[in-house]
């Protein structure tokens, strides 16, 4: 069977890429060239200028890779040659496209008389080199091409200049600037004076990039060349070919240079070199030639049908059957996507022609060879699947750093990783991906309609792909999509971000990116055995710098200034001793600004909500961010590095220049100045800002030991735990804790270590500052944390506790405003955690009258002066004693009103006291009717009486609880009419095991309790059982209730005792007796023990029942009968003299039956 290739021929067209220098030498450089509309436009411009007059012109052609710029240069070169085969070929090609253009060229030659000789033509490909070198090569090439060599100076007046320039260029000496522009201009002028000169610089962008590299390319050369060819100048035709505009190449170049180049570009006529899709398709049409009439007819019919479908889809570009036919064997959809595909993901025509003509196995040329041509039936055509295969197989697409390539990569990976698809499904997936790649909404998209056109019936396969998760249907776009991401235009996003960022303050831009990391003042830190860390932040010199808070974890701050004014910012100082602020003032921030704005723009694009859902865009932006961040970091280092940056310590008294050394040298000097008095604490675990959890534990143990075992050598520690190391470093070695030789005890006291001297002075100054009113402990902390001490946060609490212990008789501690008489370990634990909850107040050793009062009170209350010699009882010692006495009182004592009136008032004053001195010298004296004792009292006659009154009140309070118990005891003894506890215990013991009623039983058991060692314990239990509350918790009402209930309880108890005594009198044994009490309405009671002899019981019951039967007739009911009988019996059993006395009474008679 025939294959398509038998009848369809492929013209070999563009080489993969043209090289202006190499291809000039080729025998047929223009073979296969197609003059596109864009190329023709340029040819016409040049030719028109040539035909118009003496002068030349300058054009800059900007167009993407592979759009045929270099080939165009070759075409121009050939067209401007003398009479030669290439010129004829070129003119033929041009004439085919536009006869008028060919005529213009001929007119140009005529105008300059170059029909035979042709123009001087220097075509050169630029390198990353200074422009002068490139121009020199072009001029040299033109000269050699025209003359075969560099002619002697007699023949060519600029020959010496050219040779000189060649020599200059050959010298590889960085001090030499290379060929001089003047010489080059001279050569060009000399050539142009002879014949018109064409200079083409391909890849001109590389020259421009070289400027960014710091090459000292002089734009003036180009400007002079351009100017020489303009206006009334010489016929110099200058063309530069590049991918981007000058501006874009020069983005990394500083302002003035950029402006220079902008001026140069103004001399050029800018020509955008981009082909439209229709032109590209016209190019495709030139590739295929069908050499068989019958096939041509079949193609025509096929094309009519295809064009109709296209029209139905609304794709106007391919609604013309002639166009569709001309592109055969491409399926119209393939011809539709190819231009877009090539320009977006490839190198334009270069890629297109590779696909069409290369021998690659997936190319269109191979397709023709591989595809059979059936003699009848539908014609085969190259569809989207084949396009897909080629573009996947060809590395050219994904390898390019196109901003869109990520999209391509993602689709390729997804398809590659999809398993288990049928051939048909795979084909469909490929088609969809291709459409996805090129679609920019509009009609060309992977809608069901388009897919049906491409692949026939597709619904089933589509739903299968949807189930597989490979394809999703986007409702809003009526499109199937193969990738998950959205089609975000990253370049657009970045542009918008740049626009936004452009107007932001640089400080803000930088701060938003990231605050710079803190730095350690290395030398200072090493010398002082601690870490001094400076925070850094971006700042502008017009701001007013605020010093860091004392509690900041940092020891100072570095302001990295981002404007180059050599002025340090003002300092806003409210206090004298603040953490140092150092300004770093760079000389140049241009690079910093650019790098920062770039990062900010990328970050902003990345933060765009649309990007969050699109991992492709996210990843690409993420990579870009990482890259720009690295660059920014480099720039930061070079901007604030050694050389170009000044360091200034800010101060209200005039700023101080710091030495400019390696690394943190300046900061170490700043720290030296700010913190001259830092104590030397050789313990890494403690001497730091934040402790580790292990360090915190050790510090807690240390503080606990300081409080509980302060009097012991080494705080009673043994072993080598971290707390011991801390103790040695901070307390022992410094003498903060040591032996007071005057009384041979260990105490906390002023340190002997000179490095701690200033710290101690600061601490005691803070303590003494709080004489008039309370000072919050954070103020003390702040003073120690700030210059000049700059103690580390880990050390401060230990140091403060040591101070509080040393001054325990002078400094009062308040927690949440409440006076705390004792610095207990748990209080210290809270103090370490939340110093702001604590206040202190200093009570100096009192003098004068107050001192006498204190001494008297100390003597009366038995408060002994503390272990330290010079310490005498003072306000805190007395009040501490009072408070702990009050804390010992039980609730009854605190509640009862059963105290002397002054004692009650004293109790009130003690409980309510908030301020120690207020209590001692004002509230308490008033309670006892004495005058208050202000600090300046000259004399006070009631010192002794006052002390005595306080002592007496305290004694009464302390005894209150005991007094209650004695009262209860005598109450019980009186009620029972017994004289001793023993008597009652004995009676109760006799009842043990006999009583079952729980209420009575508990009472009896308690009374019988002989395990209580004292009367107080015994009565306490009884009182507790009766009142259901321990006496210590009683109120006065509980006492009253007890007094009321006791007689009843005792009476009941005594009745029981009597009952059991009776029983025993009757000989004991099992018996069933009842004790009957009859109470008359006048309150008289008669008590009787009644029982029934078991032997008569039956007969007595019979008689009773009979009697009740009779009575029932009278009273009307049996229960009424029973009650009447009971009443009579009760009346009869009352004696003449009623009695309530118990014990001796014997039941006289009456076999009274009580079933009740």
């Amino acid at each position: 069977m025939a294959v398509l290739a038998d009848h369809v021929r492929v013209a070999s067209r563009f080489a993969r890429s043209a090289n202006v220098e190499r291809d000039i030498a080729a025998t047929e450089p223009l073979d296969g060239y197609v003059v596109t509309a864009r190329a023709l436009d340029v040819v016409e411009r040049v030719a028109a200028a040539a035909a118009a007059g003496r002068a030349g012109g300058a054009w800059s052609l900007t167009g993407p890779y592979g759009s045929g710029k270099s080939s165009l240069a070759l075409l121009l070169d050939a067209a401007l040659d003398g009479d030669s085969a290439p010129r004829r070929a070129a003119l033929k090609l041009i004439a085919e496209a536009s006869p008028a253009a060919a005529e213009l060229i001929a007119a140009g030659h005529e105008r300059h008389g170059t029909q035979a000789s042709g123009f001087h033509r220097g075509l050169v490909t630029a390198d990353r080199e200074p422009l002068s070198h490139t121009v020199l090569r072009a001029l040299h090439a033109a000269t050699v091409r025209s003359f075969g060599r560099i002619p002697p100076s007699g023949e060519f007046k600029a020959a010496d200049a050219l040779r000189g320039a060649m020599e200059d260029a050959a010298v590889n000496d960085p001090r030499r600037t290379g060929p001089s522009p003047a010489a080059l201009v001279e050569v060009a002028r000399a050539l142009a004076a002879d014949r018109p000169l064409l200079v083409v610089i391909d890849e001109f962008g590389k020259n421009l990039e070289a400027i960014g590299d710091g090459g000292d390319t002089d734009p003036y050369l180009l400007q002079q060349l351009a100017e020489a060819g303009q206006g009334a100048g010489l016929p110099i035709f200058l063309l530069t070919l590049q991918h981007l505009s000058f501006e874009d190449y020069l983005a990394g170049v500083d302002g003035p240079q950029r402006r220079e180049w902008a001026k140069v570009q103004g001399r050029f006529e800018d020509v955008a070199f981009v082909e439209s899709p229709a032109q590209t398709r016209a190019l495709i049409a030139t590739v295929f030639t069908v050499g068989h009439d019958k096939l041509r007819d079949r193609i025509k019919r096929w094309a009519i049908a295809q064009a109709k479908s296209m029209r139905q889809l609304g794709i106007a570009d391919l609604a013309d059957p002639a166009v569709v036919a001309s592109c055969y064997p491409l399926h119209p959809l393939a011809s539709l996507v190819l231009p877009e595909l090539c320009s977006r993901y490839g190198q334009h025509e270069r890629t297109l022609f590779s696909f069409l003509t290369s021998p690659d196995s997936a190319s269109a040329a191979s397709y023709l060879i591989k595809t059979n041509l059936p003699s009848r039936g539908p014609l085969p055509s190259l569809g989207l699947e084949a396009v897909y295969d080629y573009f996947v197989a060809s590395g050219t697409l994904s390898a390019r750093s196109s901003s869109q390539s990520s999209r391509w990569t993602e689709i390729a990976i997804r398809l590659r990783d999809a398993h288990g698809l049928s051939i048909r499904q795979k084909r469909l997936a490929k088609t969809i991906s291709l459409l996805n790649l090129v679609s920019t909404s509009g009609t060309l998209r992977a809608s069901q309609k388009v897919l049906r056109l491409a692949e026939g019936e597709v619904s089933e396969s589509l739903s299968r792909l949807e189930v597989e998760g490979l394809v999703t249907y986007r409702n809003f776009a009526d499109e199937y999509r193969i990738w998950q991401g959205t089609d975000i235009d990253i370049a657009d996003l970045l542009d918008a971000a740049h626009q936004h960022v452009k107007h932001q303050e640089l400080v803000k831009v930088l701060s938003d990116i990231e605050e710079p990391s803190p730095v350690v003042a290395a030398r200072h830190s090493a010398e002082r055995h601690l870490l001094r860390v400076f925070a850094r932040r971006w700042a502008s010199s017009d701001e007013c710098a605020e010093p860091l808070d004392a509690f900041s974890p940092y020891d100072g701050e570095v302001l990295l200034l981002v404007n180059t004014d050599p002025v340090a910012p003002d300092l806003n100082l409210s206090q004298p001793a603040v953490k140092p602020i150092v300004a770093a003032i760079p000389t140049d921030v241009g690079a910093l600004e650019m790098a920062a704005r770039e990062v900010a723009a990328v970050k902003m694009a990345l933060d765009n909500p649309a990007v969050a859902d699109d991992w492709v865009a996210r990843r690409e932006l993420g990579e870009r961010l990482a890259q720009t961040r690295v660059e920014l970091d480099h720039v930061i280092v070079s901007t604030f590095g050694v050389g170009p940056c000044r360091w200034v310590l800010l101060s209200n008294d005039g700023n101080q220049e710091l030495p400019d050394g390696q690394g943190s040298a300046a900061l170490s000097v700043a720290a030296d100045i700010a913190y001259p008095d830092t104590p030397k604490v050789r313990n890494e675990m403690l001497n730091r800002t934040n402790l580790t959890s292990q360090g915190a534990k050790a510090r807690r143990l240390l503080i606990e030991a300081m409080i509980e075992r302060g009097g012991q050598a080494g705080l009673g520690f043994s072993g080598h735990g971290p707390e011991v190391a801390m103790y040695r470093a901070l307390l022992e070695r410094t003498g903060l804790h040591g032996l007071d030789e005057r009384n041979d005890t260990m105490t906390f006291r002023e340190p002997s270590d000179p490095s701690l001297q200033v710290s101690w002075d600061v601490l005691t100054k803070e303590f003494k500052r709080s004489t008039a009113r309370r000072t919050n402990l954070t103020d003390v902390y702040a003073a120690l944390l700030s210059p000049p001490v700059g103690m580390k946060g880990g050390v401060v609490p230990v140091f403060v506790v040591a101070g509080l212990l040393a001054f325990s008789n002078e400094v009062a501690i308040y927690e949440h405003g409440t006076f705390t008489p004792l610095l207990a370990p748990e209080v210290a634990e809270r103090l370490v955690r939340n110093p702001r909850h604590f206040d202190i107040k200093h009570f100096a050793n009192t003098s004068g009258v107050r001192r006498q009062v204190i001494d008297k009170l100390a003597a009366r209350l038995g408060v002994r002066p503390h272990f330290r010699k010079h310490r005498v009882a003072n306000v805190l010692a007395i009040v501490g004693h009072l408070v702990s006495e009050v804390n010992r009182l039980d609730n009854y004592t605190l509640r009862t009103g059963n105290l002397g009136p002054t004692t009650l008032n004293a109790r009130e004053a003690l409980v309510r006291a908030v301020e120690p001195d207020e209590l001692l010298f004002n509230a308490l004296p008033k309670v006892f009717g004495f005058r208050p004792i202000p600090a300046d009292t000259k004399s006070y006659g009631q010192t002794g009486a006052y002390a005595e009154a306080v002592g007496a009140a305290l004694d009464e309070l302390s005894a209150c609880s005991e007094n209650l118990l004695s009262e209860l005891l005598s109450l019980l003894l009186n009620t029972s009419a017994e004289s001793t506890r023993l008597a009652i215990t004995g009676q109760a013991a006799s009842l043990q095991g006999e009583v079952f009623d729980p209420n009575v039983r508990a009472f009896v058991l308690t009374m019988a309790n002989d395990t209580a060692s004292t009367n107080e314990d015994w009565i306490k239990t009884i009182a507790t059982v009766v009142a259901q509350k321990a006496p210590a918790e009683w109120t006065d009402e509980d006492f009253e209730r007890f007094r009321h209930e006791l007689p009843e309880r005792v009476a009941a108890f005594q009745r029981l005792v009597a009952l059991h005594a009776d029983r025993r009198a009757h000989g004991g044994g099992p018996f069933d007796a009842h004790r009957v009490t009859v109470t008359r309405s006048d309150g008289h009671e008669h008590v009787q023990l009644v029982s029934i002899n078991q032997s008569h019981r039956g007969q007595v019951e019979q008689a009773l029942n009979k009697a009740l039967d009779q009575l029932e007739g009278i009273t009307g009911s049996r229960s009424q009968a029973r009650r009447s009988l009971l009443a009579l019996l009760g009346e009869q059993s009352l004696p003449e003299q009623p009695t309530v006395s118990l014990g001796a009474e014997q039941a006289a008679a009456g076999e009274l039956v009580g079933h009740g």
Partner: protein
């Protein structure tokens, strides 16, 4: 020479452990009674402990009394305990007990009743501690416990009128009806619980007025009682009580003539089935 063996008995403030203390008072000489004080017990509990001390004729050692809830609440900078983060149990119960017991050999008496098959109290894992269950050994059940308390004349803690367990007044294991009970009986304690909760809520929020803003509870709204703040709970007071009454009636109907304490505990259990804090409630 063998070390002296200690005998210890933990008191929770509830009836079972109190009964056990009374039960053993004459049989185990040198018994040491202890109570882990959170500093946040109900006033009824403190009162009951004093009562019990009188009856036992010996003091009950208060463990931890200097570092109660308020202490830890400050040290933890405003992090409330919760079932997920029960620092209360760890710091105020288990650690003080283990510190107090130390490493000497000891026998610990635990008040699990004969009729409680599934309950587990704090059973130390320390090797030096032997645990004994006298009520289980001697078959003492609920009625037995009541008899012991009656005989001693000590009665029940007063909180049993409205609450089934001892423990902190703000215990997050207490039931909705018990919160209402707290509000009725001890409005000042309820206020304090509200204040703590509000403070934590505020700190955890964004206004950051208070000390603990940056601390542990940041961003973690927490309420004592599940799903609502105490103020919200209290606004539903009548509804909660109604539900509680209904449950009580239901329980009474199904089981006639049962002691109030049983009915109360069963109906309160009906409110929610979170397990009580076994250490506190022992």
């Amino acid at each position: 020479m063998a070390e002296q063996v200690r005998h210890i008995c933990g008191i929770s403030g509830g009836k079972d452990s109190s009964a056990l203390a009374v039960y053993l008072r004459h049989t185990v000489p040198d018994m040491e009674y202890f109570f882990c004080d959170t500093g946040a017990e109900l006033p009824e509990t403190y009162e009951y402990l004093t009562r019990l001390e009188v009856i036992l004729g010996q003091p009950i050692v208060r463990l931890n009394s200097s570092r109660g809830f308020d202490h830890w609440f400050e040290v933890f900078r405003g992090a409330l305990p919760s079932p997920q983060m029960r620092w209360c149990t760890k710091n105020m119960k288990i650690k003080p007990i283990e510190d107090w017991i130390g490493d000497a050999p000891a026998v610990s008496y635990v008040a699990i009743r004969a009729d409680e098959s599934n309950r587990k109290g704090y059973i130390s894992t320390k090797p030096n501690i032997e645990t004994r269950f006298p009520f289980v050994e001697d078959g003492v059940d609920h009625d037995g416990v009541m008899r012991i308390l009656d005989d001693a004349g000590i009665g029940l803690p007063a909180y049993y009128e409205w609450r089934t367990r001892s423990g902190c007044y703000f215990c997050f294991y207490q039931r909705k009806a018990e919160w209402v009970g707290l509000a009725d009986r001890h409005p000042e304690l309820f206020e304090r619980a509200v204040a703590i909760e509000q403070k934590v809520l505020r700190d955890a929020g964004i206004d950051g007025e208070a000390d603990f803003t940056d601390r542990a509870m940041r961003g973690r709204p927490y309420t004592w009682s599940g799903g609502e703040t105490l103020l919200q709970l209290h606004s539903r007071r009548d509804q909660i009580l109604e539900k509680h009454e209904a449950a009580m009636t239901r329980a009474q109907q199904t089981k006639v003539n049962r002691p109030l304490i049983k009915v109360l505990s069963e109906t309160l259990d009906e409110d929610d089935d979170t397990l009580p804090c076994t250490v506190c409630a022992l």
